[in-house]
């Protein structure tokens, strides 16, 4: 990280600063969720920590006003990039009626917000890949020039729906980006027990699409890969598989105790590569960021997170009877 890599990618200092700020915001929202969980205020957290660089790098490479996003449960960085607010995220953490994702119906991490083209997702992993192909197919049929990005974990890349979704996109040459956020674990199961190939991106050739593996702790590398993939989409060259390699810095979720299956040393070693630190260091080395600016950012973020938390904490739950709503169109509003 000695030359101004971001300039080579066509990113201004301002842009990389906002990149960093969004990574920080994602991290700080996540950290607050854990505090709230440990304080007994929210029953469940699932984290983005360790994947912020990949998520924010990807979001910044897209047209977040037109493109479609099918995120998975860790993608705080991506949904922030697509316009979800800290308050929205806290509303879902607290399962409030105002949660734009589901009105408190789904667990945290089940994103969906139509106005921002964030497509509603479920818990069974990998079902969103065929959906992404379907949306990209619609784009092609309707001759729209937007890109669809779908993300998922490396464990999830072993589900049949990965294969079927990627194959469909390959055969129909669809404008979709498959973003595999490889964090080396699927809950407790390490990557060696999930797949036998060297890289998840080795699978791309099987679908007639290019596959790339990039450093998931480097937002610029991810930005570049996603940018290129997006260009391919827009040029009618079809789908791309991108694997971002980083590490899950937290336990799988607030219900998990990771000490039973991995060592503290391993986690400490990986923390050294944490993008929040390494990207901060890069920006400082490039004289884009100063200690002072960073502290300002942190203050601003703290305030945003405080306000979001307070708003959500004070917001009401949905009415119990409202659980009867929205099963079918014609029952809308009926209780």
């Amino acid at each position: 990280m000695t030359s101004k890599r971001h300039e080579e990618l066509g990113l201004s200092d301002e842009q990389v600063l906002s990149m960093y700020e969004m990574m920080l915001l994602a991290r700080k929202i996540d950290e607050r969720m854990w505090l709230l969980n440990r304080a007994g205020k929210i029953p469940f957290v699932v984290s983005c920590q360790g994947q912020e660089a990949a998520q924010v790098g990807a979001a910044m490479a897209l047209n977040t006003k037109e493109d479609y996003l099918l995120p998975y449960y860790r993608d705080i960085g991506l949904v922030l990039g697509f316009g979800m607010s800290a308050t929205d995220l806290m509303m879902q953490g607290f399962a409030r009626a105002e949660d734009p994702n589901s009105g408190g119906r789904q667990m945290p991490g089940h994103f969906g917000q139509k106005k921002n083209r964030i497509v509603s997702g479920s818990s069974p992993v990998t079902t969103q890949l065929p959906h992404a192909a379907g949306i990209a197919l619609a784009a092609k049929m309707e001759k729209k020039n937007f890109v669809t990005l779908v993300s998922f974990g490396e464990g999830s890349s072993n589900q049949g729906d990965f294969h079927e979704g990627a194959n469909f996109a390959g055969v129909h040459n669809l404008p979709v980006i498959f973003l595999c956020e490889n964090n080396k674990y699927a809950i407790s199961v390490p990557i060696e027990k999930q797949l036998a190939c060297d890289k998840v991106s080795d699978r791309a050739i099987g679908y007639g699409m290019p596959g790339y593996t990039v450093d998931g702790n480097d937002p610029l590398a991810v930005y570049e890969a996603v940018k290129n993939a997006s260009d391919r989409c827009k040029n009618g060259e079809g789908p791309t598989l991108i694997e971002t390699v980083s590490y899950r810095l937290t336990p799988h979720s607030s219900d998990d105790d990771d000490s039973s299956y991995r060592s503290k040393e391993e986690v400490e070693e990986e923390k050294k590569k944490d993008s929040i630190h390494t990207f901060s260091k890069y920006l400082k080395e490039m004289n884009v960021l100063t200690e002072e600016k960073e502290n300002e950012m942190l203050d601003k973020i703290r305030q945003i997170v405080d306000e979001a938390t307070e708003a959500a904490e004070n917001a009401p739950y949905a009415d119990p009877e409202s659980s009867l709503k929205y099963v079918y169109a014609d029952k809308d509003g009926e209780v």
């Binding site: 079902t127 992404a132 784009a139």
Partner: protein, 327 residues
């Protein structure tokens, strides 16, 4: 009014909806150039082009899942499962995704997909080309399941299914495809999903059925008419959610009810129909609610001897009605 076959009604409904609405498209295995293994999509590829009549890779979870994605975007996909038996790999997409999209997003996202599949036996299809799969799904809020018996119902209900704002499973009896013919109006029409239909008025016995069995019941009823047994026949048409009102009315009318399905008995949706009657019509009943169904084996065998033994037919229904009349 023209007389057309059951499968022609399927074809006509799709053609009309595709002509009317550019967002309607078809995807499935062999639906394109070949026009489907049963010819349900015959001519559509030629008429609407390969962009609106897509031959997909052999992968049902993707057929459903890609359709679901397109539907969430705002298209109106009509997905074909080549045989209802092969809907199994798509169950996760149908139950976890299509059925729950509207609910889980608090009405933000919707999934107006139609999934068609030929079901049923009596065509030497053996274990995996003869199954009735409706009971697998007739328990999943968010889905609607339509199983029409006549060309008129097929056309009106398939058009409604395609227009519906929610996911609809549309099961067509494959033996009815060419066997069953009927009149269909020349002008456009649709029929309401969720409504059962009285196919024959009668006084002594109520038969409730759907799909091909409905015709067997009509045949049986006709014969029994000569013996002085008058049969009232209700066609469920939509098997989920059930038209409770129509069921209660039909059951109460005669007090003697026979439920007929080609599916095996235990756990079939006829259990639900019986339960509805037991809940609402107990004191109107003159005899226990009877269910006539297939045997409790995994699926219909191939050899004609065994297939015939499994398969529903007018004679079995006739016998059951007669017994109930004598109760």
């Amino acid at each position: 009014m023209a007389v057309i076959s059951y499968i022609q009604a399927v074809n006509a409904a799709m053609r009309e909806e595709m002509e009317k609405d550019e967002k309607v498209f078809i995807l499935g295995e062999d639906v394109g150039e070949k026009g489907g293994v049963f010819k349900a999509t015959e001519g559509l590829y030629q008429e609407f082009g390969e962009e609106r009549v897509l031959d997909t890779p052999l992968a049902e979870s993707a057929i459903a899942g890609v359709g679901i994605g397109a539907a969430m975007y705002g298209m109106k996909p009509v997905a074909e499962m080549q045989f209802a038996d092969f809907i199994m790999p798509a169950v996760n997409q149908i139950i976890s995704e299509a059925a729950k999209t509207r609910y889980r997003s608090n009405n933000d996202w919707t999934c107006p997909i139609t999934i068609r599949a030929p079901y049923g036996g009596g065509i030497h299809g053996a274990l995996y080309h003869s199954q009735s799969v409706e009971s697998l799904f007739s328990h999943v809020p968010g889905l609607k399941i339509v199983m029409p018996s006549t060309p008129y119902d097929v056309k009106g209900l398939l058009k409604s299914a395609i227009q519906d704002e929610d996911p609809v499973l549309f099961f067509e009896h494959k033996r009815a495809y060419r066997l069953v013919k009927g009149e269909v109006p020349d002008e456009e029409y649709t029929l309401p999903i969720g409504k059962a239909d009285i196919k024959k008025e009668g006084e002594d016995i109520t038969v409730i059925s759907y799909g091909l069995c409905l015709h067997f019941a009509m045949e049986a009823a006709e014969k029994l008419e000569d013996e002085g047994i008058s049969t009232h026949i209700l066609d469920l048409r939509t098997v989920y959610p059930l038209d409770q009102e129509a069921i209660i009315e039909a059951a109460s009318k005669t007090g003697k009810v026979l439920l007929v399905t080609e599916d095996n008995k235990e756990g079939s949706l006829m259990g639900e129909v019986s339960a509805i009657i037991a809940e609402h019509c107990l004191f109107d009943l003159d005899a226990p609610v009877q269910r006539l169904a297939g045997p409790e084996v995994p699926a219909m065998p191939y050899a004609p001897t065994m297939e015939k033994y499994f398969m529903m037919n007018p004679e079995k229904i006739e016998k059951a009605i007669r017994e109930l009349a004598q109760f």
